[in-house]
C-alpha cells in the first residue's frame, strides 16, 4: 500500500496517518469507538428569514452509521454544508478530534478527513472516472494514473465494488456514479464519510447495495453520516439516529437502544419523535376497497402503442392496457425503462409510431397535445420545474399556463388579471398551496407546493383521465401523503388514473391493478390483492409472475 510520505497527495497530513493505517490493517471498530471524530456543539446557522439550524448538538463516532433523519427543510443539508466546509456556523462550534476547529473550505474539510457525497453528483460528466478521481491534486503535476489504478484496485477489493476507471462519467448510472464518489472519499483517506440523500436517485437494488457497502465501511472503522428522509432506510442501515425537525434536533436513538429495538419499534419511535402522535408507519395506509366498476366502459384504452427509441431514451413496444372510471392502474418498474416515454406518448408530447389510444371511446392518437388536454386527458409531469411550470412566472399564471389565451382568463389576447387572481386564490385555498402571495414566482415555492400547483392545474374542470408520473418523488412525508390522498380522491370522483411510480410501496398502497414495465414493454399486469408484492417483484426482476 501507499505509505504515509509527507507531501504525498493521496495522504492527508499529520495525525490522520495512523488512523488510516489502522483502518487499512483492519483495526476492530471497538478499539477506536467511543471517541468523537467530529462533534457539533450548539451549532446555529441562519439564512435571511429562516433559522436553518438551531443549536444542534451531534456526536459522530468511528464505526457507526449515524443517520440524520428529517423532512425537507429540516436543516439536514445546511448541517452537511457546515461539516463539508461550504458554510460556516453563526453560533456554536465544531470539534474535530476534541479540538474546536472552524472548517473553512472544502479543501480544509478534506484535509481533516471529512469526505462528502453530495445529493447532487459532484463529478465532471465530460471527464473519465480516473480523471475525476485525480481532480484536486496540485496543478503542476502529471496525473498519476498508475498509482491511482493500484490504489483503486486495493480499495475496491476490500469493499467488493467494481469501478470502470476509463469510462466517461456521463455513461455511468447514478448508482455507479455514487460508488465513484464514495471511492473518491476513500482515496482521500476520509475518516468521516457523509452521504447526503444518497438513496433518492437509486433503484431498490442500488439502495440495498449501498446499505451493505456502508456496513463494510464502518466495520473498517470509518464513521458515516447518512442523511435520509425515509424511515425504513434509517431503521435498516443506522447504528444511531438523530431526528431533525425545523432546524432543531428533536431526538436521538443511541446504538445501545437501537440494538435492543426491532425495526417496527424503531420506526414507531422515530414517528413519535417526528410527528408527536402517530404510532404507525404513516406511509402504510389501508387501501380502501373500492367498489369495482367492472361494468363500465374503459375511459382510456391503449392498444399496441409503440414509440421508436432515440439516442438517450428507450422506445416503447406493444403497450396495451385499459383503465375504467374510478380505477387506478399502476405502472411499476425500475426508473428509465420507458415510463416517461409512455406518459409523453399518451399526452401527445412524443410521437407514437403505431398503436391506438382511445379516450372515452374516441381515437386521440393523432391529436395534438392541446386537443388531448381539452378532451380531458391530463398529464402531471415529474419534471415539475422544467416542463411543469415556468419558474419566474407568478403562482397565479402558472395555474393557467395551459389555458393561455383562453377565456375567461384572457380576452382578445389581453390578460384578465382580476379573473386570474380570483380563480387562483380559490385554487390556492382548495389545494392548500403554501405561498406568500399569488405573485410569488413559482420556483420560490418548495417542491411540495409546486406539485400542488400542478395538481390544481391538471385536475381542473374537464379532466377524465389523469396520468401521474412519479407524483411523490422528492417530496417530504406530509406532502407525499397529501398528494396520494389527492390521487385517491381523483379516482373516487370517477376519473381513470394512470399512476407511474418507482416506489413499489406507493403502488401497492394505492392501485387497483399494477402493470410492470421493463425495457419499454409491459411484461405483466397484476391485480393488487394479497400476493401482489411478490408477483410484481418477480416481474420487475425479470421472472414471470
Amino acid at each position: 500500500m501507499v505509505g504515509c510520505r509527507r507531501g504525498d497527495p493521496f495522504t492527508p497530513p499529520d495525525d490522520s496517518c495512523f488512523l488510516v493505517l489502522g483502518f487499512m490493517s483492519g483495526f476492530s471498530s471497538s478499539s477506536v469507538a467511543g471517541r468523537d471524530i467530529v462533534a457539533l456543539e450548539g451549532v446555529t446557522k441562519r439564512f435571511p428569514g429562516i433559522v436553518a439550524n438551531d443549536s444542534v448538538d451531534l456526536s459522530i463516532r468511528p464505526g457507526e452509521v449515524h443517520v440524520l433523519l428529517g423532512e425537507n427543510g429540516a436543516g439536514k443539508s445546511t448541517l452537511i454544508g457546515m461539516l463539508s466546509g461550504l458554510q460556516q456556523p453563526d453560533e456554536g462550534r465544531i470539534l474535530v478530534d476534541g479540538k474546536p476547529t472552524p472548517i473553512t473550505s472544502p479543501r480544509h474539510a478534506l484535509a481533516l478527513g471529512i469526505g462528502t457525497v453530495f445529493q447532487h453528483m459532484m463529478l465532471v460528466p465530460t471527464l473519465t472516472v480516473a480523471e475525476n478521481l485525480l481532480l484536486g491534486e496540485p496543478w503542476w503535476q502529471r496525473p498519476r494514473t498508475e498509482e491511482l489504478a493500484a490504489r483503486v484496485a486495493e480499495i475496491t477489493g476490500t469493499l467488493g465494488i467494481t469501478v470502470k476507471l476509463q469510462a466517461k462519467v456521463s455513461e455511468l448510472s447514478l448508482g455507479e456514479q455514487q460508488q465513484v464518489e464514495i471511492l473518491r472519499a476513500m482515496l482521500r483517506n476520509s475518516r468521516l464519510l457523509i452521504l447526503d440523500e444518497s438513496t433518492s436517485m437509486l433503484t431498490p437494488k442500488g439502495i440495498d447495495e449501498l446499505g451493505a457497502l456502508m456496513r463494510r465501511l464502518v466495520e473498517q472503522g470509518l464513521a458515516i453520516v447518512f442523511i435520509t428522509h425515509k424511515l425504513k432506510e434509517a431503521a435498516a442501515f443506522g447504528d444511531r439516529i438523530s431526528v431533525l425537525k425545523l432546524g432543531r434536533k428533536v431526538g436521538e436513538i443511541p446504538p445501545e437502544r437501537f440494538r435492543t429495538l426491532g425495526e417496527q419499534e424503531i420506526v414507531s419511535e422515530i414517528v413519535e419523535l417526528m410527528f408527536g402522535k402517530q404510532k404507525d408507519d404513516p406511509e402504510a395506509v389501508e387501501r380502501p376497497v373500492r367498489t369495482a366498476r367492472a361494468g363500465a366502459d374503459p375511459l382510456l384504452q391503449v392498444t399496441d402503442l409503440a414509440v421508436a427509441a432515440t439516442d438517450n431514451a428507450p422506445g416503447l413496444s406493444s403497450i396495451s392496457f385499459d383503465i375504467r372510471p374510478g380505477e387506478i392502474l399502476g405502472i411499476a418498474g425500475i426508473d428509465g425503462n420507458g415510463q416517461k416515454q409512455l406518459a409523453e406518448a399518451l399526452a401527445g408530447q412524443r410521437t407514437a409510431t403505431s398503436g391506438s389510444v382511445r379516450l372515452d371511446g374516441a381515437a386521440i392518437e393523432t391529436l395534438s397535445v392541446g386537443e388531448r388536454r381539452r378532451r380531458g386527458l391530463r398529464y402531471l409531469t415529474d419534471d415539475r420545474l422544467g416542463e411543469g411550470t415556468v419558474g419566474t412566472f407568478p403562482v397565479s399564471i402558472n395555474f393557467f399556463l395551459k389555458q393561455v389565451g383562453a377565456a375567461p382568463f384572457w380576452r382578445n389576447g389581453v390578460e384578465q388579471r382580476a379573473e386570474i387572481d380570483k380563480r387562483a386564490a380559490q385554487l390556492v385555498r382548495e389545494y392548500d398551496v403554501r405561498t406568500p402571495s399569488l405573485k410569488t414566482p413559482v420556483a420560490r415555492l418548495s417542491g411540495g407546493n409546486i406539485q400542488k400547483v400542478l395538481l390544481a392545474r391538471e385536475l381542473a374542470e374537464g379532466a377524465k383521465v389523469v396520468i401521474f408520473n412519479k407524483p411523490t418523488y422528492g417530496l417530504d412525508l406530509a406532502n407525499t401523503l397529501a398528494s396520494r390522498q389527492r390521487i385517491r380522491d381523483t379516482a373516487a370522483r370517477g376519473l381513470a388514473v394512470l399512476l407511474i411510480s418507482t416506489d413499489l410501496e406507493e403502488l401497492l398502497g394505492m392501485c387497483d391493478r399494477i402493470a410492470v414495465i421493463a425495457d419499454g414493454a409491459l411484461v405483466g399486469t397484476v391485480e393488487n390483492v394479497d400476493d401482489a408484492r411478490t408477483k410484481v417483484g418477480r416481474l420487475m426482476i425479470g421472472l414471470a409472475a
Partner: protein, 311 residues
C-alpha cells in the same frame, strides 16, 4: 488575370494567409482557455487592441520587436485582469463586461495614439524572417510557410503545447472541470476562482500577443481599430473547435486565406467592388457556423459565475 495563378502570386497569397492567421490563432487559443474554464471572454477584442497598441509602442520606442511582443502580452493581460476581477471574482455578467471592455479599449487606444502621434502613422522596420533551411526551398510552399518571423513558429508550436496541457496534465483537468462542473472542482479542493483567473489572464496575454503581432509584423504600424473584429473571429474559432487546439489552427488558416484573398483580389484588380470582397471573411464565418455550428459543444457552466454553495 493570368497573374492570378502564377507561382509568385500563390505563394504571396499563402504567405499573407499565414500572416493574417497568426493573430486569429493566438486569439482563438486564448479564448479557448477561458471557455474551457467556463468564462465567455467577449472582452478579447479589447485585449487584442490593448496588445496591439502597447506592443507597437513598446517596439517603437525600444526598437526591439520582442520587447514589443512582451509589452503587448502584458497589455492584454492587464485588461484581462480587470475582466477577471469583475467577472470571475465579483461574478458580474461576462458578456456585458466583455462588451464594455472592448468598446472602452477601442476608444482608449485611439485616444492615446492620437495624443502620441497626432495624425501620423509611423512605421516599424520590416520584421526579420527566420528562414527554415531546405523546407523554404520548396516551390510555392517554401516561401509561403517557412519564411516567417520566429514568433509564427512559436505560435504553431503553442497549438501542440496546449493540446498536451488539455489532455495530459492536471492543469488541463482542472480547467475542464472549472468549465463543466465547477462545484465538483471546488469540493475536490481546488479554488475555482483561482483556476478561472489563471485562464482569463492567459487569454489576455495570448490575445495581447496576437494584437502585437498584428500591429508590429502584420501591418508594421498601429492605427485605431486595427484589430477589426479579429478578437470576435477568435471567439467563433474557439466555439467551433470543440475544445481542440488543432481545430483552432485549421480554422485560423481558413480565415487567414479569406483575409489574404481580399487583399490579393484587390491587387489583382478583379472587377468586383472592394466592399463585396471585404465581406468574404465574414461570409466564411457564417458558412462555417451554418455547417459546423450545430456541432459546437460548449462547457456546461460557460458564462455562469461560480458562487460556492449556490443552487
Amino acid at each position: 488575370m493570368t497573374g492570378l495563378f502564377s507561382e509568385v502570386f500563390l505563394s504571396a497569397l499563402l504567405f499573407g494567409a499565414v500572416t493574417a492567421a497568426i493573430p486569429l490563432l493566438l486569439a482563438g487559443l486564448g479564448e479557448q482557455i477561458s471557455e474551457k474554464a467556463g468564462v465567455l471572454n467577449v472582452g478579447i477584442e479589447g485585449m487584442m487592441l490593448a496588445g496591439a497598441y502597447l506592443g507597437f509602442v513598446g517596439a517603437f520606442y525600444s526598437g526591439s520587436l520582442w520587447l514589443g511582443f512582451l509589452t503587448g502580452a502584458a497589455g492584454g493581460a492587464a485588461v484581462a485582469l480587470v475582466m477577471a476581477l469583475l467577472c470571475v471574482r465579483i461574478g458580474l455578467n461576462q458578456i456585458v463586461i466583455g462588451i464594455a471592455l472592448t468598446l472602452g479599449l477601442e476608444g482608449l487606444t485611439a485616444l492615446l495614439h492620437h495624443f502620441q502621434f497626432s495624425r501620423s502613422y509611423p512605421r516599424l522596420p520590416a520584421a526579420d524572417a527566420t528562414v527554415i533551411p531546405l523546407l523554404s526551398d520548396i516551390p510555392v510552399i517554401g516561401p509561403a510557410f517557412f519564411k516567417h518571423h520566429l514568433i509564427v513558429y512559436l505560435a504553431v508550436a503553442l497549438v501542440f503545447g496546449m493540446g498536451y496541457i488539455y489532455r495530459r496534465t492536471q492543469l488541463g483537468l482542472n480547467l475542464q472541470a472549472a468549465g463543466d462542473k465547477p462545484a465538483a472542482l471546488d469540493v475536490a479542493g481546488i479554488d475555482v476562482v483561482r483556476t478561472r483567473t489563471i485562464a482569463v489572464l492567459t487569454t489576455g496575454a495570448l490575445a495581447g500577443l496576437g494584437g502585437a503581432y498584428l500591429a508590429n509584423v502584420g501591418a508594421g504600424l498601429f492605427i485605431p481599430f486595427i484589430t477589426n473584429g479579429a478578437g470576435f473571429l477568435g471567439i467563433v474559432l474557439a466555439m467551433l473547435a470543440r475544445g481542440r487546439p488543432i481545430w483552432v489552427l485549421f480554422g485560423a488558416l481558413l480565415f487567414g486565406v479569406c483575409l489574404s484573398l481580399t487583399t490579393a483580389m484587390q491587387v489583382a484588380g478583379i472587377n468586383i467592388p472592394t466592399d463585396i470582397i471585404q465581406m468574404l471573411p465574414f461570409l466564411a464565418v457564417m458558412i462555417m457556423l451554418v455547417l459546423f455550428g450545430r456541432r459546437a459543444s460548449l462547457p456546461a457552466a460557460l458564462g455562469i459565475p461560480y458562487e460556492r454553495g449556490a443552487r
